[in-house]
């Protein structure tokens, strides 16, 4: 799909099939033997049945009104309606950074538009309130603005990576607010929910596990046996345990060990997700460290640099840059895995979906609600994985294929 900056053929130069040769192509590829013809016909029949029955259900049977009626809780849970601007601010921050990233990564304007335009269009088609539409419009404008400001400024990408990193505490601050403040009162985490909670859990998981993962990876390679043993043991212990188990442990054990702290449910889930992700992050980072050639250590040492300085200025920047794609991959799987927190009673996207269908008013509408939730999960994961492939190329981490 993606056209590479240089080298590979853009899709448009691939030979087009003329109608005359289409018949020949069909004959050669799909109907060349009697069993291949049979297979083709059977497959066509299956595809037809699947599409037609899905379409009939989607357009005739399904009662989609359940989605707009519950859209707000599905997206933001029970966050106070008067404070929703804080979530919008967080979203706008992310929109700007996303645009800026596309700009530094050398994304084409057309491609950025191709991602953003459907969003704008959807906001007009779906029954949204006007303030929502205006805010979505602002998000689109910020993506475009970030893109335009940072276009081609590749040298700024380390700053941008830093900005992404610090956007996480900033978003948490927005969500949490200030105790006793009038304009931005404290919003307890019990009111957080929906897609916003899902995204925050994934974000915190990644942001907190990155430094911990780096430390664990360095620990595992340490020449001090105690440190390397402890790090290895921790990593392998966590990697051998299912996330659900860790979530339950965090949910049940943290209050037992730290009873006086009264850590709330959301934070406990964050702790569990962070422990889980850190172990995988450590392995990612370790892979990156192994990929840095020995000559780099030698060159740094030959300059008289100390071990920590060599690590910080020469080795880690190269190692981390090499693992950006796997960090994004980790983020995507964490984003999906957060759905497990519904089990310990959090109202993330899936948790809200389950509470909607438990409402007698919407009895029997599981399919509609879950399909919608699934679509959102897919939309985010797909966007992220596509952008990460672009970033990979821009950083020269993969050869254009």
């Amino acid at each position: 799909m993606q056209t590479s900056p240089q080298g590979a053929l853009p899709p448009s130069t691939r030979p087009r099939l003329a109608p005359a040769s289409l018949g020949r192509w069909l004959k050669e590829n799909l109907f060349n033997t009697w069993y291949n013809s049979l297979l083709t016909l059977v497959s066509l029949w299956f595809v037809w049945v699947a599409i037609s029955s899905t379409a009939r259900w989607a357009f005739a049977t399904a009662r989609w009104e359940v989605i707009p009626a519950n859209l707000t809780p599905l997206l933001i849970g029970t966050y106070p309606r008067g404070q929703v601007w804080r979530i919008w601010t967080a979203l706008l921050t992310v929109a700007f950074l996303a645009g800026a990233t596309a700009g530094t990564a050398g994304g084409r304007g057309k491609r950025v538009a191709a991602w953003v335009a459907p969003l704008a269009l959807a906001s007009l088609l779906f029954p949204l309130r006007w303030p929502t539409r205006v805010m979505l419009g602002a998000a689109v404008a910020l993506v475009a603005g970030g893109y335009w400001l940072f276009r081609g400024k590749r040298r700024l990408w380390p700053w941008l990576a830093g900005a992404w990193f610090f956007s996480f505490p900033w978003i948490l601050f927005l969500m949490w607010g200030i105790e006793g403040s009038g304009a931005m009162p404290r919003v307890e985490t019990s009111a957080w929910g929906g897609l916003a909670l899902t995204l925050i859990l994934a974000m915190v998981g990644i942001a907190a596990s990155l430094p911990i993962g780096i430390l664990l990876a360095l620990g595992r390679r340490s020449s001090l046996p105690v440190i390397s043993w402890c790090s290895t043991a921790l990593i392998e212990l966590v990697r051998g345990t299912p996330l659900v188990t860790i979530l339950f442990m965090a949910h049940l054990m943290v209050p037992i060990f730290l009873p006086e702290l009264r850590i709330d449910k959301v934070v406990r889930a964050m702790i569990g997700l962070t422990i889980f992700t850190s172990a995988y992050m450590a392995e990612n980072v370790r892979g990156g460290l192994q990929g840095v050639p020995k000559g780099q250590y030698e060159a740094a040492m030959a300059l008289g640099m100390s071990g920590p300085l060599t690590m910080l200025l020469v080795i880690l920047p190269q190692a981390l840059r090499a693992v950006i794609p796997s960090i994004v991959g980790q983020f995507i799987s964490l984003f999906k895995d957060t759905s497990l927190v519904a089990i310990i009673g959090l109202l993330d996207l899936l948790g809200i979906a389950r509470s909607v269908i438990a409402n007698p008013r919407w009895l029997g509408l599981q399919a509609e609600v879950f399909l919608f939730a699934g679509l959102i999960y897919w939309l985010f994961s797909f966007t992220l994985s596509q952008s990460s492939r672009r970033i990979e190329r821009a950083l020269g981490l993969t050869k254009p294929s």
């Binding site: 030698e298 060159a299 030959a302 300059l303 008289g304 100390s306 300085l309 020469v314 840059r321």
Partner: protein, 250 residues
Amino acid sequence: MNVSQSDDIIICEDVHKWFGDFHVLKGISVRIGRGEKVVICGPSGSGKSTFIRTLNRLEHHQRGRIIVDGIELTDDLKNIEAIRRETGMVFQQFNLFPHLTVLQNITLGPIWVRKMKKSEAAELAMSLLERVGIPEQAHKYPSQLSGGQQQRVAIARALAMQPKIMLFDEPTSALDPEMIKEVLDVMRELAQSGITMLVVTHEMGFAREVADRILFFDQGQIVEEAPPHEFFAAPKHERTKLFLSQILHH
């Protein structure tokens, strides 16, 4: 040459080194004077690289003594870092830092190790780039340069630490023939400056012209050492003769 302690910037006494069971350096004793230019040659696997890497402790020796500029190399990290600050090294594979620009490659050491001010370091770096002939490449990344240019940046990076000794390990072996000269020219110019140079190389023209002394290594020992005219005109050892006949025929 061996007049007094202070005239010899490098003193090696009976240096031995093993890689596991493999005896790589078998009793190297040599003194190198301040400002001396020494070329080291010898067949592949004879321990040339290992020897010059023991001088800044990228490899550590297991027996004997190495004294660089009056400091003995031991496990003491302070001494090692002090010696490394005085000793620049240029590698066969350049080993530039790929995530930094040319300028940043050169200023990294001065800023973080020598604690130089950023602006001062940048000025120094630019003057060094001028000296090696590529000031216009300052803001490019190493991957955007040719091999010869990369090696000249590596030389500038080593010089930025203002070392007293420069170690070169086959600096032109990874280069295309047309780029070898540009690097050797920089090294020739450097030799004029009075810095101490140890160069592992097979460039016999360079050795003849620049070296005060040539050390010939074979199987972990210094088999022959002589000034270039003597070394090329009247080699004493069979192994030296064989090596010279092979390399000069090449």
